[in-house]
Amino acid sequence: MFLSTVVKYISLTWEMTKLSILSAMEYRVSFFVQVFGMFVNDIAFIVMWLIFFQKFPSINGWQFQDTVMLFALTTVNFAIVMIFARGAFELSRTIARGELDYYLSFPKNVLWHVLVSKTEISAIGDLLFGLIIFFFSGNISLEKIGLFVVIGILTALIFLNFIIITQSITFYVGNFEEAAEQMFHALLGFAFYPQTAFYGALKIVMLTIIPAFFITTLPVQLIQKFNLQLFLILIGFWIFTTIIATVIFKRGLRRYESGNLINVKM
């Protein structure tokens, strides 16, 4: 029963995303400009780190190759979220404008519906970039590819939970749109640094409030060298964030349905 629901939602997600992409392809030029533009954007980013590693070849054992793997993983899991759940980034705005009403009128889970209702076309550029540089990141084995896929999806889900949590704070606080966006940029921003450089209190922040550790360091390590214990920790963190996201959203939705939200146009 549960499994069939999951399958249903997955296939519906695919339908929705397909429609979004079809819809965007109405504007051929814009579509390709976005994909290509993002691809170039990502290349520029990694070029900057290439220059950095010219001056500082190894940061506590972390080398340019590791950054490449990091980029591959991060862009791919970011792309997954942006392609299938872009609505998450506008959750805050949707809540603040009372637009959840639209989703509430359907016989489907509201959160899911908001998430899948939009697709970011440029993320296709990110996906391409990530997949391409994955193949430049060192010895590629079948095992590595398998790990990359599994861990990529897992981290994408953790990433998604983070966004849902930060965006859902709007249910409680009012206009949290910009703050949520800031936190997202923080997470994404921090994700690209050589993680071995960090110590002390900052490291703690990266394990908790801005969980860059779980989205970058840990997964990259797992792909380079699989370790069951670490893998279980990653899964544990995923379950943990899923629970928090679910609770925060559900309670928030209840608040929304009471009509007493600040700043909401009823």
Binding site: K8, E15, D101, L104, F106, P107, K108, N109, G259, M266
Partner: protein, 329 residues
Amino acid sequence: MSKIVIEVKNLSKDFKIKQKSEGFFGGLSSAFNPQYKYVKAVDDISFSVEEGELLAFIGPNGAGKSTTIKMLTGILFPTGGKMKVLDFNPSSDRQKLAYHIGSVFGQKPQLWYHLPPIDTYNLFSRIYELNPKEYLERLDFLVEQFEIKDLLKTSVRKLSLGQRMRCEIVASLLHKPKIIFLDEPTIGLDVIAKQHIREVIKYLNEKEKVTIFLTSHDAGDIETLAKRTIVINHGKMIFDDITEKLKKNYIKTKVVELVVENPIKNFEFEGGKIVERTKYSLKIELDIAKNSIDKLLNYAMGNFVIKDINIFDPPMEEIIADIYREQKI
């Protein structure tokens, strides 16, 4: 005895609105010491709707209309009272109820803008988990009834407003809902398109026995469609009866606008109060108890060379204000 599909008893909804203060320090103070204002949006209303009714639910802006509908569809939960829609409690069974009701909000489209309607229809068939064969039969049927065969494969953005509305209504009917909430379905449409939509709505109600809950600011919508009208104002129900009574008792005036060729010097007509006047035009409020439209027009045509005439119903606000005044007595 027809089945009751909507039952509302002593329904109330209060809103707690936080008072925001201006500026930076205002923002600080409202963060630490928030001030609230309580607003009673819906105040103890009760009514029931039978299967197959076509009912108009009207009132001025801010009267509590949208709030009531949102409660009936499960988007908001009430602060008091009980309600049942198709044997479901909307607040707790929103998703289950959603399979059996449809809604068309004039302002918020359901159809994907850049794609042809058929794509949205197919998507909906999946969302509402319709049996593919039944869905296709239903689609063919609706497409024929609403005459949208040629529009199916055209991008929604290329359709006229009237065409879009017809397609939107079809979208809300694919899953054979038992109740439809129509919010401002004819807004922005020209006279012919309005007519067409009204026919479509009438057909739905008569042939398919769909219960229709209509809100509109357009008096024409109400007069031509709804047998029963509920008027709500300041959260309270102030009228619940057959629409005829609303017309007979409360539409007491008609407004006539005249544009004439030669400058107007005198205009005297019993029961006709001049509300606006310029050199070449007049706006007259006619008390239809005292005199009739055709006599007014005869007088006008007999005394002036008419270049243009417009005849309006009094605005909904006025009708309701009248009802309210009457209620107080």
